[in-house]
């Protein structure tokens, strides 16, 4: 590589520079276009989209929290020994939801008969007192 090669390269690049210079876009027009594409209105629209997205997120979280609380209302609280929220259910009154299915037409026959009062009841009571 010598000076003549450098000069030749420079001549080629000079030709390219002249060509580019003639086709350079106008500085002011380019700057105005850049500003309009990044204008406050555009930025405002962009931030509005973000605000709307944030509002939707807050709403979704709120609904989820509410649903969770509603489901947790009847849950047993170990510390107080009671059920959170809803009515207190006594274990002796509890009835299985499928209890009615066990009640068949023959269940009366199978049930133990009631003890009838007898004339011997009085005699046996007097014997016990003596």
């Amino acid at each position: 590589m010598n000076f003549s090669d450098d000069d030749e390269l420079r001549a080629h690049f000079d030709a390219l520079r002249r060509h580019d210079r003639d086709r350079a876009p106008d500085f002011r027009a380019m700057l105005d276009r850049a500003r309009s594409t990044n204008s406050p209105a555009r930025r405002r629209a962009f931030s509005l989209i973000w605000i709307a997205a944030a509002a939707v997120m807050v709403l979704a979280v709120g609904i989820a929290v509410r649903e969770t609380r509603q489901h947790g209302a009847g849950r047993y609280d170990g510390s107080t020994g009671s059920f959170g929220g809803g009515d207190t259910v006594s274990i002796s009154n509890w009835k299985s939801p499928t209890a009615s299915l066990l009640h068949t037409s023959g269940s009366d026959v199978l049930a133990s008969s009631k003890i009838l009062s007898s004339v011997l009841d009085g005699a046996s009571r007097a014997a016990v007192q003596h």
């Binding site: 590589m1 390269l9 030709a15 390219l16 580019d20 700057l31 850049a34």
Partner: protein, 171 residues
């Protein structure tokens, strides 16, 4: 540096910046315009800050280079998404212009074809030195490489370019 001062600097360097943006965007004028526009906005909005460690021109050229790389990447991924085509940053083929018969346009066409044969780094350093008249030290700062590395790219690139131009002249 004040915004108005920056704007004046940009206006003074605009033609030079345009040439550099074209080189960074594989001579795609549409992409170069987008990259230059974005780079100017970065400079004027303060997103790119001048620290005074180099000349304003070197700094702005660095901003343009980085912006062009990002724009090019976005452009390529957009092309890949829309067309599924494999796009590369090869130097654009110079189409014969109306003034194709003139010596100047012939020189230009030959140079663009020859530049396609050198690596992107070599192309950058040659453009900065021969087109923009920078020193190798300044070119290294724009390219964010060491001076030694820039010098190696310069020497190798110059040899390849001279060989390619000689070959094109013979044809």
């Amino acid at each position: 540096m004040e915004r108005s001062e920056l704007e004046r600097e940009l206006e003074a360097l605009h033609v030079d910046c345009w040439g550099w943006a074209l080189a960074c965007c594989a001579r795609d004028s549409e992409l170069a315009e987008d990259a230059l526009q974005t780079a100017y906005l970065r400079v004027l909005s303060g997103r790119a800050k001048f620290d005074g460690r180099s000349s304003v021109r070197t700094w702005i050229f660095g901003v343009i280079r980085m912006t062009a790389i990002e724009e090019g990447r976005r452009h390529r991924s957009w092309i890949a998404r829309t067309a599924g085509a494999d796009s590369t940053m090869d130097v654009a083929d110079p189409s014969p212009a109306a003034d194709a018969t003139t010596e100047s346009s012939e020189q230009r066409s030959m140079l663009i074809s020859a530049l396609a044969a050198v690596s992107p780094r070599q192309r950058e350093v040659l453009q900065l030195v021969f087109y923009h008249g920078m020193t190798i030290e300044e070119a290294a700062r724009v390219m964010s490489v060491s001076v030694g590395s820039a010098r190696t790219h310069y020497e190798r690139g110059k040899k390849t370019l001279a060989r390619m131009l000689a070959e094109l002249r013979v044809r």
